[in-house]
């Protein structure tokens, strides 16, 4: 798998943990409408299959597990609602700012208003999207090892405590009930605002390319999403047509069956019946296929789009760090220049010099004072610039690493998604093939 990620950075292979012996399969299924004192909500069943010992040993009788296979046989099932997923997402985003967080389906306020949020078309789509979210987490080397995820996937009581003590604010920030500490976050926000209109001057070639490619990737997926949507639409209308054709043929059959004076029509009636049956099955199959497209494949595509969006967010964050460093660096150079000017004697304004002379200020003394001031400034700045550079460089490294992870997860997800697509298409055609071969034999 690593061969697929051609990076110039060797640290990549060292730090990205290999997932070889690490199994974390998550399935989200069975959206169920439930009621509690505050109203209705939808519960999703989250089933996990994993060989990570802590997943099992912390919650179950350790003696049960004699070998690794036993871990896999112990399927962990919990029920979570959408807000739980949202909470998990928020915690993870805050905990690991340098990671590309997989997208979570948005709240869909509209559906809440229209009351459509319990319809299968809504919950099924959301269910699949949530599964995509968890599966991407499972593929991620950092996220998959986080304790929060483990709690989310395994424990009943622990997660309840999380839910009660932490509330998610609208802005995406987290208010932790007990400590209420979110200072770091606020600082980041002000940085973002300050540097919103600034651009990175010395963008490394690597990132220029990553940006460009991610744009293209997003564009392609977006286009495919759009056109697939259209395909689904025409498939739907075709389903309708088949249905109508089926009805039309049914009527014709009835009409012919009523007429006694036509000979040979028995045989034809039988054939019509067989043929019409085929059309009917075609209707059903096509409907199923469209459903798959609508509920799963399109959701996959959209999630992928959002995922690329997350990547872009990370890139922006990285840029900000870089901008921080560059700003500081500028400031430092300025200070050094000033100092140098003063030392060489050319520094300062002629008029200010004159003024100071008139005022009787000892030019030499003040100059020395200034130089001393600047020197301390430069010293602090230099250390700050060094820090900023370190931070920026580190972040860049991390980001690069993360992009590699992204690439990996993206490939995995795409493979799965395309495989599913092919499977569904094959199933669709195979069903039809069976039906129609039978029909051909009978006709």
């Amino acid at each position: 798998m690593n061969g697929d990620i051609p990076t110039t950075n060797d640290s990549n292979t060292n730090t990205v943990p290999k997932n070889d012996n690490f199994i974390l399969d998550i399935i989200v299924s069975d959206p169920q409408r439930q009621r509690d004192e505050s109203g209705s909500f939808v519960n999703y069943q989250v089933s996990t299959k994993s060989n990570i010992p802590s997943y099992h040993e912390n919650y179950f009788d350790k003696t049960r597990f004699k070998n690794k296979q036993d871990f896999l046989n112990n399927i962990l099932v919990v029920h979570r609602r959408y807000s739980d997923f949202l909470l998990l997402h928020t915690i993870l985003v805050n905990d690991y700012p340098s990671c590309i967080a997989p997208p979570i389906p948005d709240k869909k306020v509209l559906q809440y208003i229209s009351g459509d949020r319990f319809s299968p078309s809504f919950t099924e789509k959301r269910c699949h999207s949530l599964q995509n979210f968890l599966q991407k987490l499972a593929l991620h080397p950092t996220y998959s090892r986080s304790k929060v995820l483990e709690t989310f996937l395994v424990s009943g009581s622990d997660w309840d405590i999380y839910r009660k003590s932490i509330t998610v604010t609208n802005t995406g920030g987290v208010n932790v009930g007990i400590t209420g500490n979110s200072g770091i976050k606020n600082e980041d926000v002000s940085d973002v605002l300050m540097n919103a209109f600034k651009h990175v001057r010395n963008q490394s070639e690597e990132f220029v390319e990553i940006k460009e490619k991610s744009e293209k990737l997003e564009y392609n997926i977006h286009k495919i999403d759009k056109v697939t949507h259209r395909v689904v639409k025409s498939q739907d209308s075709l389903t309708e047509d088949y249905n109508k054709l089926n009805l039309g043929l049914e009527n014709l059959k009835e009409l012919i069956s009523k007429e006694e004076h036509i000979e040979n029509s028995r045989e034809l009636l039988e054939k019509l019946k067989i043929f019409n049956n085929g059309i009917l099955k075609m209707t059903y199959s096509l409907r199923d296929l469209s459903k798959y497209y609508d509920y799963e494949y399109l959701v996959d595509l959209r999630d992928m789009e959002h995922y690329v969006d997350s990547l872009k967010q990370l890139l922006k964050l990285k840029d900000q760090k870089q901008i921080d460093y560059e700003e500081l660096n500028d400031y430092l150079t300025k200070a050094i220049n000033e100092k140098n000017n003063l030392i060489s004697g050319y520094g300062g304004n002629f008029f200010t010099n004159k003024l100071e002379e008139i005022a009787g200020i000892n030019q030499e003394a003040s100059r020395r004072e200034k130089i001393a001031k600047l020197e301390t400034k430069i010293n602090t700045l230099t250390s700050e610039v060094d820090d900023a550079k370190k931070i920026a460089d580190n972040f860049e490294q991390e980001a690069l690493l993360e992009v590699g992870v992204f690439e990996q997860i993206k490939n995995e997800t795409l493979k799965k998604s395309l495989g599913n697509l092919a499977d569904n298409q094959i199933e669709y055609y195979e069903r039809l093939y069976q039906t129609w071969s039978e029909i051909e034999n009978k006709l």
Binding site: E209, S234, K244, N251, E263, G278, G404, K410, I426
Partner: protein, 776 residues
């Protein structure tokens, strides 16, 4: 037939002979050598050099023949069609087996096809088949002198070459043909076909089923030197090019010539506006032309399969290149068609029959089963009403299906468009799916590309599917709709005929009634006279009356002999209706009015039967064959005369129970009704009139009897007509239903094939994609 084929030929047969190279461009030479090879089957695989110089005569002969064909040596269709000679056929077969990959195969196949058509009815066909197989065995297996071949071998080989040939092409367009080639197997198995494939893709099985082929459609120059789209028909080795409008006029002529037969339909006309905006030209409306070509082939062959149409001289002339179609249209039998097919023998309208001209012409269908006689139950069978109802429902049903299929087509168009786009995007995606720059084609890219390919194939096969849906669902259903419309037309014709029948039937009944009444009147009158005479002996006043009566009688008789003819509009004459009527017999117009005097019942009859009856009556009473007199004129004059009477008799109209739908023309009888009223009244009040009329009455009875005789003749005629029409239409409809059944059967089978091939194509491509995705 192409230089290239000749080259490879020579190469095969005369490897070592360098001198033959000079002849490489001479097809005829190599062709004839092939012939020769065929004749000396023994050579088989050996490709003996020696046989290269034999049979110079034959070679020359052939050259001559070939020279006659202006298209020889080209890919042009004519090359194959015109040159459908036995020797050449052998050539082509030979060609094929030596040059399987030659592009010219299309041509050869087609040639084969047409030449076999030529010999389809040939007694020497069997022998030809043997020739074929000998040749086959000779060239393919090098078997020496095999006589036991059969046509199946032959066709199998051709089929295989066909597909070989098809598989050589890689273009997308050619892909269609491959599938067509698959389809031809279905076609050859089914009884009916809408199948006409371009070029050589026509299956060999078709040749027994499609005696007529349209081998080319495109621009041609007609006799006037005008360019038009022509359809070149190949039939019995003859080629004739006809335009769409000529097909149209053929069809119309056939409809008139054979009014009781459902004439196969042709595709509907190009909308006129569309024509003005964008006239049909060979380049830009290929779709329409292809569709027309296909449907016109079906039309011709359906015509051909119908005995009546096949035997029709017009149809034969249409297929014969010696006739210019415009001249055929202006010559018999089309030119001598009667203006109204109702006044002619229904099965042969061009054969004149004087008695038919006496039949009434109903302007609308009036079927009144109230007047049914015993004979009617067979003539007006309820079966036809059932048919009509059934057809109506069938029509509605087919219409909905047709609409659905049109809609479906529209949606398929959208789908294929999206699929094509999607395939392109996937391909783009396969190139740009990585964040990191990489020059290595990754597995993912391959997988995505394969998915894109699968979608592309889905697109192509879906497009093919919907083209087939159009061809095998929409078009046949449309044809059915047209055919139902046609059958409704002939059913209407039958109804008009039936109306004729009813009119005559009713007239006979009325006439009989009147006759009886008149005869009864005779006896009544003699009774009255008797009583009067008896009374006269007792009373003087009565005796006076009797005397007066006798006097009047003399006067009236003298008037009669004088031949005074007064218009009936004269109120005084109304008291002497018999007189007036007898005198006016010579006058056509008055004669019509004169029908009335026979009684009020007659008036009802006239009012109900309408003009036709009057016309009929006038003709019958006169027994003069005034066939040339146009009914229209007759009606008009009637109307004029009768209008005069309206004012006078309108008050009397109510006296009798006349049908409320009295028209101007029918007033004349009412006027007579009124006179008849008076006649009846006069039996009590004015005996004088009665006495005077006695003589007239007797004359009238004789007239009525002759009339009745004529009517009975007509009745027999129309009865015969009806029976003919009934049996013909019954047969036609049953055939039509069978045709429909067959068509559905065929459609379903072909569609199943199409759907299956679509599924197979798509399934394979997706499986392929799945495999590659697994490797990611």
């Amino acid at each position: 037939m192409e230089p290239s084929s000749g080259v490879s030929f020579v190469g095969l047969l005369h490897d070592n002979n360098a001198s033959d190279e000079d002849n490489n461009n001479n097809n005829m030479m190599s062709d004839s050598r092939n012939n020769k090879t065929h004749e000396e089957i023994d050579f088989g695989n050996e490709h003996n050099d020696d046989d290269g110089y034999d049979d110079e005569e034959e070679e020359e002969e052939e050259e001559e023949e070939e020279d006659n064909n202006p298209y020889s040596g080209t890919n042009h269709m004519y090359a194959s069609g015109i040159a459908a000679v036995l020797e050449e056929r052998n050539d082509s077969v030979h060609h094929r087996y030596h040059n399987n990959n030659n592009n010219n195969n299309n041509n050869n196949n087609n040639e084969d096809y047409s030449s076999s058509t030529t010999t389809a009815n040939n007694p020497s066909h069997e022998q030809l088949k043997d020739n074929y197989s000998q040749q086959l065995f000779g060239s393919n297996y090098a078997t020496i002198k095999t006589n036991s071949g059969n046509i199946e071998n032959y066709s199998n080989s051709i089929a295989s070459t066909n597909s070989n040939n098809m598989n050589n092409h890689n273009d997308k367009d050619e892909g269609y043909i491959v599938s067509y080639a698959d389809l031809k197997n279905i076609v050859s198995n089914s009884n009916d076909s809408t199948h006409n494939l371009p070029d050589g893709a026509t299956g060999i099985g078709d040749k027994y089923r499609f005696p007529i082929q349209i081998i080319e459609a495109g621009q041609y120059r007609n006799s006037l030197g005008k360019y038009a789209i022509g359809y070149t028909i190949s039939f019995n080795s003859q080629l004739v090019t006809r335009r769409y409008s000529e097909f149209d006029s053929l069809r119309q002529s056939l409809c008139k010539l054979l009014p009781t037969i459902i004439i196969p339909v042709i595709p509907s006309k190009h909308p006129l506006i569309k024509y003005f905006l964008n006239p049909l030209s060979a380049e830009n409306d290929l779709k329409t032309i292809e569709k027309r070509k296909r449907l016109l082939t079906v039309f011709l062959n359906n015509c051909y399969s119908h005995k009546e149409i096949r035997d029709c001289v017009v149809f034969a002339k249409f297929l014969n290149p010696e006739y210019t179609w415009s001249k055929v249209l202006s010559s018999p039998p089309i030119s001598i068609l009667p203006t109204n097919t109702l006044l002619a023998p229904p099965l042969a309208p061009t054969k004149p029959s004087p008695l038919h001209l006496l039949l009434p012409v109903p302007s609308h269908i009036v079927l009144d089963p109230q007047y049914l006689t015993a004979a009617d139950s067979t003539i007006d069978s309820p079966k036809f009403r059932k048919y009509e109802k059934f057809l109506h429902f069938y029509y509605e049903n087919c219409r909905t299906i047709w609409k659905i299929s049109k809609q479906e087509k529209h949606h398929y168009e959208q789908l294929t468009k999206s699929l094509a786009e999607l395939g392109a995007y996937y391909n783009a995606f396969s190139l740009e799916n990585h964040i990191f720059s990489t020059y290595k084609v990754t597995e993912l890219s391959k997988g995505i590309e394969k998915i894109g390919q699968a979608i592309d194939i889905s697109y192509v096969s879906t497009e093919l599917l919907f083209v087939n849906f159009q061809k095998y669902l929409e078009e046949p259903v449309c044809e059915m709709l047209q055919l139902i419309e046609e059958s409704e037309k002939i059913l209407k014709f039958r109804k008009l005929k039936l109306t004729q029948f009813y009119i005559i039937d009713k007239t006979i009944i009325k006439r009989n009634k009147t006759l009886k009444q008149l005869e009864n009147m005779d006896t009544d009158l003699s009774k009255i006279e008797e009583t009067l005479a008896k009374n006269a002996s007792e009373s003087r006043t009565v005796a006076k009356v009797v005397e007066n009566l006798k006097k009047q009688k003399i006067i009236s008789s003298s008037k009669t002999t004088d031949g005074i003819c007064l218009p009936k509009s004269d109120p005084t004459m109304k008291s002497h209706p018999f007189l007036a009527s007898t005198n006016s017999r010579d006058d056509m117009i008055d004669a019509n009015g004169a029908l009335g005097p026979t009684g009020s019942n007659n008036a009802i009859l006239t009012s109900e039967t309408g003009n036709g009856n009057e016309d009929d009556n006038s003709n019958t009473t006169h027994s003069s064959r005034r066939s040339s007199v146009k009914t229209v004129h007759n009606e008009n004059s009637n109307a004029i005369i009768n209008n005069n009477n309206v004012s006078i008799s309108s008050t009397d109209v109510n006296d009798k129970t006349l049908s409320p739908t009295l028209e101007a023309q029918q007033v004349s009888p009412t006027c007579d009704t009124d006179s008849n009223d008076r006649l009846n009244q006069s039996t009590n009040s004015k005996d004088t009139i009665l006495l005077k009329q006695e003589e007239e009455r007797k004359r009238e009875i004789i007239k009525l009897k002759t009339e009745l005789e004529k009517l009975r003749d007509c009745f027999e005629l129309i009865k015969k007509d009806m029976n003919e029409v009934n049996s013909s239409i019954d047969y036609e409809l049953v055939t039509l239903f069978a045709y429909f059944d067959e068509k559905w059967d065929y459609m379903m089978r072909v569609l199943t094939k199409c759907i299956l091939s679509w599924i197979k194509d798509s399934l394979d491509s997706w499986k392929n994609a799945r495999e590659l995705v697994n490797h990611i």
